[in-house]
Symmetry: D2
Subunit: 386 residues, 4 copies
């Protein structure tokens, strides 16, 4: 196989990020299988036609089911709103298509499990869009842990802080509606933190959480929108049905303990996606706003020069450095998607499942839902009980 | 009154910090009542004699009860280990002495309440040593909140991270023994965070916590010691009976939500005592390792130049700046004690109780104990139920 | 015009960066004129064929003169080593082609002036590759200055610090040979600082400099290479004929004073390209290693909250923010090239010269050479005397 | 000798800092010789009486010559304005008194040399107040250099940035008058940088400088004052006769090159006293606004974790750490004076000259003056030619 034909659903934020990744791959990773941008699908004919032309897709359609019937489509890339992930993914798998699905995998744990069963039954490849794993500085943290250079892990603390809805007059976009988004900061931001914890530390066994909706009602938006406050808003208000902030404490299978915070009310933080890990031999600190950097501390450093090092993960020793620019020349948010697609292509080349895949999506959903149960029941929940 | 005669108990870490504060006060705050360093008290005659000479006390004694009988002692300053705070404070109050007691006020909430009753019954002044309140950068945060410049408060998150016992061979000092210390990181570090939350945000109403002791046994020390690993250690080991780390989530009376973490296993952090507050109009971030700085964000800043400001709290507009050095010339840890003593002296001048006082100590103890209950009972605890 | 046909020379570091910019433009700036990647040219047939295929050029050639004869080429993009810029640019202009030339424009001021004359005589468009101007955070600095928000400018200080040749056994690549590179850190790194000064502050009138070559001899490389130490090195050594570091002081026409430092011996700095500007009303600080950030200070801020703000230039109010990702999602080094090409396309659309163009290239060269004279003559040099 | 009797001249900023250092020494360094605060001298009887009482001096006087006649004074500590340093120091030496003189030693190189001759002829001890040497983080830098851990030194760059006279209406205090202050930012701030360079790197051999006075005239102050803008100002203006900013480039005897900048017009910088050193094996960065930190980089660090470490110089391995607080508890500006006095006392105990002494003061003055010559003559000056 030299090319992988892609059919993609969705052309907004994630659709653009994925399209760019497909376009960039052959330039920077010429020896990998090349994704071929075959068909893009969206609800509005006019918009999807524009997107096809702008993003560089061969064809466009408004009917995703039709895409599944085509022999010249190998993989379905799902960037549609979260509430339709399940149906598309299962149908795609049944049609024998490989599936790359944005996170969160589904609105509920049960749904995500059905999806996993479907892809496994169909024997297709499946991947989930936890793109932050593919940040070179994060991969350095993973390497240090795997090589035992941080020792036994004691603490994991993670926080994803945003402030884009701090204005009470910001409209009730679909991301603030439970029936479409599933949850608010928890599923949107917390999901990334949970996957990061799974990637770096391992299984979470017990959780207890707390959540809050600070602004209970918001103006209804004029059109369907996820992130932005475009156009004039209605004077009518509707209830915010998702969490503005969710925090939880956690225990890991390996004995580490963790704290997690996802909020859209951290004034001044546009998108602080950050974690810190403390081990018996060292520590690391990461903040996605400075995504090229990892702070690293080693207990074994000489007594008089111990301190956190600011490592710029652009050196020859760091992931993907051969492909990008000379040391000290940084990369950006979109590169996490390019690297995700690299992993996807390598999985085809190496005839294995890509990582993270639907199993990771289910695992993440399980923790998300355990946290929700712990909030409803006001007590600790065993993750494996779900 | 021009002088306040002090009798102090304890001459180690806190004893030195308090003595220095008394010595510095007349130099930097000449118009305040001057503390007179009358008598210092300790268990070892030789050591306390040395301390008296070094620190500048007129006299020394090994009998704290005898101090209480002297007419020329106005105030008793208690820096002894936490398990003897209660007895000394109550006896001092009964003897009509004012009392300045280091934190934690006592080992239990019940004890701390008895202490509060005693000082109130005696009508004496009482203060508790939450010195971090007296950091100018923290006082700036307080001012911004009080003036409404941060708006409604949504989030308080605080962490006190240390790593001084990360080595499993570090001995079982008294701070790791429940019967003397009461608790571990929780009472030692968490107490400061809780008081900071009370000072800045207000009452905590509900808590749920988690704690862990990572290293269960440690070598027995050769001599009574609190912080350091002096001398050769025994080969024999004893059980660590306090928490290495305690985390908890909290709700505040004003609707804000909070997370707290106190740990002695945050490798690479010598003493990161830090908090962040997010409000509807702005945010602040503080880290005691950079104690002269407060990061401040305002929503109302012009659209193109919004960002956290690094404010160096040494300008004319900041607390105590007239007394210390020109703008940009920083102060250190010990100044928080000098400022504590300034508050104590001002309370005498203004004929009021100093703040923080035993009420604050009790309030802190109440939350500490509520967290402990929540850990034992694995559920949320209402603080006012205690 | 809807498309601009490009013929590009060079396929290494800059060739890749430019190619990527051309590929990305239609995706992110769909309404702009689209560059069409027509022909790529290089010395090695095999390598250029590979590059054409990888980068996405229609055709390839080893004969740049032949490219100039083609009617279907509108613009020549010169990424070849500095010593051949002049000949190619002049011939291209004579052939009526627009020219986009990487910096430094030429090896000498005289050469650069000839180039400017040639493009002006031919009436073609010309641009020079000072890509750092197109960093959104830098553009914010420019905006603040232009709007008078920093007041009168007093100080400009800039430093470009690298360490890639700190190892004395690093080979004598062409960038260390005067006959090819013209100069060392001065022309390579200092040129960027000088252009930044011209862009932000204005004309430099007087300079005095100092330079040093710390490692006088280095192993001869096995093959022609600019940046890297590939392959085994010869045991034979040759003289380093360029500067390892050049520093200079400067006066500006507007009364500001400046200091500049370019070095490849700043151990620990991979590529710290940084400046600070102090004005009567405010200051800004920039570091390309954190290229999405600008630190901004205003004198008029309230007395108690004055401090440098860390502005993340990814908000709606910042340049290109509508095209890239949501606020807080950063971009990287390569985006400066995409934005450069955007300016180039806009110049065609608006029928004007792009900025920066060969005039800026000449102006930069003039200061570079004035500094060299000041070093040789050990005295201050008036830039306009050259 | 157990006590050293001090007679001090001056009771403003430096007088307070020195007095505090004398008071603190016996508490924190009990085994050292104790300074005894015998007599304080000032021009105004009332003010000096107040100062004596506040600072804790036994006696006060307005006649410094009378102090020199007393047998019970061992050392004269000169904190008077710079223009009277010379006369007092020479007379004190003639009277057989040891001398501790604030920097700058004198207004001219010639004067400083006379002072050195006088103290050497008298055989007394002499010290100069370059207090920044005594910052533990700076001492760590010195240690790393001395132990060869930074390798050969290539670069020294230093900047002392302040903004206290940025307001054009700030009055013409004595620090802005050449006849009293000698020079402006150069002698006040630059002197500290030069001494730091001497301490850390070694002899400076060649210099070329530039200076500027941005605000040429200022309101006359109502009373003699050095730093502050107290009281209402006159409407009358007078000429500023010192430099607002002075920059210079330098060569060191050991082959390193340096750049220096001292300015009072760096808006937003209250007192940024900073340096960076790059060597063949490592680098260090220091900023006095974060005086407890040193950033340290080592070439030999493992390939994937190279980066500047933020070392908090409060660990057991750092200078004076046994005396101050537990690791992570910081110290402030005034501690540099305490440590200076510790060095003075140790010199007496060890029967040697303290360091830095008048030789260092002369050496600093020599560079200051060489820079001034280079500015007047607009050319490089050999320091040893002076």
């Amino acid at each position: 196989m030299k090319k992988l034909n892609i059919g993609m659903i969705g052309y907004k934020f994630m659709g653009k990020a994925h399209s760019h990744a497909y376009r960039d791959l052959p330039l920077f990773f010429p020896k990998h299988i090349h994704p071929h941008m075959k068909v893009i699908c969206g609800r509005s004919l006019e918009s999807v036609a524009d997107a096809a032309s702008q993003f560089g897709w061969d064809e466009y359609t408004t009917d995703w089911r039709e895409m599944l019937t085509r022999d010249d489509i190998d993989l379905i890339d799902i960037n549609a709103p979260s509430d339709v992930h399940k149906e598309i993914a299962i149908e795609a798998a049944k049609a024998g298509k490989h599936v790359f699905c944005e996170k969160p995998l589904a609105l509920t744990l049960a749904d995500s499990r059905e999806m996993l069963e479907a892809v496994e039954a169909a024997g297709v490849k499946h991947m989930v869009g936890f793109n932050y794993r593919f940040t070179p500085a994060v991969m350095l943290a993973k390497k240090l842990i795997d090589e035992g250079r941080l020792g036994d892990i004691y603490h994991f603390r993670a926080w994803f802080l945003q402030d884009w809805i701090i204005d009470p007059d910001f409209p009730l976009v679909w991301r603030l509606q439970k029936e479409i988004a599933g949850s608010g900061s928890h599923g949107d931001l917390g999901a990334h933190l949970i996957d990061m914890a799974h990637y770096l530390i391992g299984d979470i066994t017990d959780v207890i959480g707390m959540s809050e909706t600070f602004i209970k009602e918001r103006p209804l938006p004029q059109e369907m929108t996820g992130l932005s406050a475009t156009g004039s808003q209605s004077k009518e208000k509707g209830p915010v049905t998702v969490d503005d902030a969710t925090l939880f404490l956690a225990k890991f299978a390996n004995g580490a303990i963790g704290s997690f915070e996802a909020t859209r009310f951290a004034t001044g933080h546009r998108s602080t996606n950050s974690f810190e890990i403390n081990g018996s031999k060292g520590s690391v600190i990461f903040d996605f706003e400075r995504m090229n950097e990892l702070q690293v501390y080693f207990v074994e450093d000489k007594e008089d020069v111990q301190g956190f090092r600011r490592v710029l993960a652009t050196d020859a020793a760091h992931a993907y450095s051969d492909v990008w620019w000379p040391a000290g020349h940084t990369i950006g948010y979109e590169h996490t998607f390019i690297h995700s697609v690299v992993e996807l292509m390598e999985a085809f080349q190496e005839e294995r499942q890509p990582v993270p895949n639907f199993k990771d999506g289910v695992k993440c959903q399980q923790v998300l839902e355990a946290v929700e149960h712990s909030i409803e029941q006001k007590k600790w929940i065993k993750v494996t009980d779900l």
